[in-house]
């Protein structure tokens, strides 16, 4: 039982069962394919998970199909009043109108935009797929230069006004933080080294998709920056990161130079930053950008679906490296759009361009499951990228 009464968003209540039926009946061929693809995600994973049996924790149960579920968008914004003693005071709950506090409104709208992306595009009901209420805490600390996900909620500082503006200013950062919750539920990807950089990259990917969708931008219209608007005028830089051109987002006396690589040849080995999670994420970030621009159109439509499918793949291990994630995206592209089609080719090419080769053999059939023949040669080793 959920302790709070939930606001029912009338449009969302109607949309999936009604609209998807209508589209299935009257939509164009493309619309029909899209809706069927969304609905098919569940059954694909249901069979995978049955095959994997008891390895799926109870908490990760399948989300009900969109035909049976209603939107459960339920936002609560708390004002920390510049203290750090969570949770602070509730200042806006679901369905209430704008307040006079711009941070509160930005957080509220950002949570809504992120929820909408996952619900309307990926048929995912909130962070956990089961309608988890969304909590954001604004005005955390004094001059606090950060935003973070603590495992249950998003926390946003006001920035010091010297280097950083308020952290709610960038909707992709709100999407980034919430996506950490999604990854925690579906991955999970250990927050260290390559798996940690994948975790970070997935947050950037879906954070950027939230922003592109709010702005109604196609892949070639988007700036592919993360956190644009966060820096004050004192900083020489445009954003925290660039997915399009990692390493070029800022070059500043105080902050230093953007350290992100965009290719495996510049992979940074370090113990700092949890083994470079915010550094090497540039590599998978750029791979996603390349896929999205190669395929064209709205990035959430094909590239986004491929990445989401790979994230939900039960074969994604918590310590996955770039190579094994790349392989899952190639397989996802083949599964969703047909093998050897443009999508699969675009994904394979993109990884290749950042220095990660996914061989045809390894990206073929799953290495386990009913009816799968193991190859005659020596057993496959886990990817070592």
């Amino acid at each position: 039982m959920r302790p709070h009464s939930r606001h029912r968003h009338s449009l969302h209540c109607i949309l999936p069962p009604y609209l998807s039926r209508e589209i299935a009946r009257n939509g164009t061929r493309e619309q029909r394919e899209r809706i069927l693809r969304t609905l098919s995600i569940d059954t694909t994973f249901r069979s995978m998970r049955v095959a994997r049996g008891a390895m799926i924790p109870l908490g990760q149960r399948l989300i009900p199909s969109p035909m049976m579920v209603e939107s459960q968008l339920q936002r609560t914004i708390y004002d920390m009043k510049n203290t750090e003693a969570l949770p602070g005071t509730v200042v806006r709950t679901e369905g209430q109108g704008d307040t006079s506090d711009v941070c509160v409104n930005e957080a509220y709208n950002g949570l809504g935009a992120t929820y909408d992306l996952f619900w309307e595009v990926f048929a995912r009901n909130s962070i956990d797929g089961m309608g988890m209420p969304l909590h954001a805490h604004v005005h955390y600390g004094e001059n606090y230069n950060n935003a973070f996900w603590d495992g249950e909620r998003m926390v946003f500082g006001d920035g010091d006004g010297d280097l950083f503006n308020r952290f709610t200013i960038a909707v992709d950062i709100i999407g980034h933080e919430l996506t950490h919750g999604v990854t925690e539920h579906d991955g999970p990807l250990t927050y260290f080294s390559q798996s940690g950089a994948l975790n970070e990259s997935i947050s950037d990917v879906f954070g950027s998709l939230v922003k592109q969708r709010v702005l109604n931008q196609k892949a070639d219209q988007a700036d592919w920056l993360i956190g644009e608007g966060l820096f004050t005028d004192n900083v020489e830089g445009v954003a925290l990161r660039s997915m399009k051109d990692p390493g070029t987002a800022y070059d500043d006396d105080v902050l230093g130079k953007d350290p992100q690589p965009g290719h495996m040849r510049s992979f940074v080995k370090t113990w700092e930053d949890n083994g470079g999670v915010h550094i090497n994420s540039g590599i998978p970030n750029r791979a996603f950008y390349l896929v999205a621009t190669q395929l064209g159109g709205y990035a959430w439509e094909r590239a986004g679906h491929i990445w989401y499918e790979a994230l939900r793949d039960p074969r994604l291990r918590s310590n996955a490296g770039f190579g094994s994630f790349a392989r899952l995206t190639v397989m996802a592209a083949g599964r969703l759009y047909g093998s050897d089609k443009d999508e699969e080719k675009a994904v394979r090419d993109a990884w290749n361009q950042v220095g990660i080769r996914v061989s045809r053999e390894r990206a073929g059939e799953p290495a386990w499951g009913p009816g799968v023949q193991l190859p005659q040669q020596a057993q496959q080793q886990p990817p070592t990228h």
Partner: protein
């Protein structure tokens, strides 16, 4: 007394902020230096363990490392994982961030 503050993590990695920043109390305004000394004392800094707070779930949290070297040559480092709940350590961290910001502002005024 010398105090060093190092910052790691957060929603992005900034090489410039990641470098330890040293504060020599002798070069600070007397009231700032005094406030910092008091904060170190009240936090019982030299008796604190090497790490305060646990890395539970979550992402993009900041980790601070404070190193204090007193005039008697004692040196101790404490790593703080946010949110920092211990009030005295939090007060010390706030003072350090404030002093760092003031230093940056005056450096910027001298070399615009």
């Amino acid at each position: 007394m010398r105090i060093e503050l190092k910052r790691e993590g957060g929603v992005a990695f900034f090489p410039g902020l990641n470098r330890p920043r040293g504060l020599d109390l002798a070069s600070l305004p007397p009231e700032t230096a005094e406030a910092l000394q008091r904060a170190v004392r009240e936090a019982r800094f030299f008796e604190q363990p090497a790490t305060v707070g646990t890395a539970a779930r979550g992402a993009d949290r900041i980790r601070y490392t404070i190193t204090v070297e007193d005039d008697g040559g004692r040196r101790h480092s404490v790593q703080l994982l946010e949110p920092v709940e211990e009030p005295h350590l939090r007060a010390l961290l706030e003072l350090l961030k404030q002093a760092e910001k003031t230093q940056r502002a005056s450096a910027r005024a001298q070399h615009p």
